[in-house]
Symmetry: C2
Subunit: 142 residues, 2 copies
């Protein structure tokens, strides 16, 4: 398990960046399905995903991929003193079980007084294709 | 388990709306923590959440609350033929284990040709406070 970073607001500059890898497994898909109750066939039925989306198999829930930005904020940048204010994410390529994703956050803005940082978020697969990207605004509590 | 709705693009009008309830449990929090590896203390350590946030106890992961918009799209509106394109969510009030949330999506725009619908999303607790709100853009596959 990763050690929780402890960036304070004043430690973070435009350009401060953190990154980590996640290996996507079918167990994760099961957990997300059982947590959310999202039984949509695109995310469990290979033949439906082939027929309707032209994919080689079922694809991972976009919001499961997005859930790793919780980890980005809460463990990596800023880590301990994080409170997510808002998020924007787009899904650009499919993710499959077995993929190894790299989640990267980079500070692109700071709002002094409110102690808010804005992270640009990029999630890439092992072929360096961006599968999801967006921004999140985080309050840094210290 | 809810039956997966089967709205087609042409079935959906501006104002089409779906809603469902979710009871938030500590088991859900455990699942989300184990799925994401987000071990941030705000979401498991009551005394940290009191000290740093002034909350009565630890608060639920914002991105866990947001994960129910996967269910909104994939099961309720449009249901079977859903493919999420992008999401924007803001977190306005804390959520606690034991809360019963109502997740509502309402179609506020359609982009013909691309078969995209835009849902306004509102998540309220049992006191009718909005805990999270935003928008999602969804491709409807049929």
């Amino acid at each position: 398990m990763a050690t929780v970073k402890e960036y304070k607001y004043s430690d973070i500059e435009i350009g401060t960046r953190e990154s980590f890898e996640v290996s996507i497994t079918t167990e994760m898909e099961e957990k997300f399905r059982s947590l959310t109750g999202d039984v949509n066939p695109m995310h469990c039925d290979d033949s439906f995903a082939k027929e309707m989306g032209g994919y080689s198999s079922h694809i991972v829930f976009g919001m499961m991929t997005a859930s790793f930005i919780s980890t980005l904020a809460g463990v990596y940048l800023p880590g301990k003193y994080s409170l997510i204010h808002s998020v924007e994410m787009g899904f650009t390529k499919p993710v499959f079980a077995g993929d190894v994703l790299t989640v990267t956050g980079e500070c692109i803005d700071k709002q002094d007084g409110l102690n808010l940082i804005v992270l640009k978020v990029t999630i890439k697969n092992a072929s360096q294709n961006t599968v999801s990207k967006g921004k999140m605004k985080i309050k840094v509590l210290l």
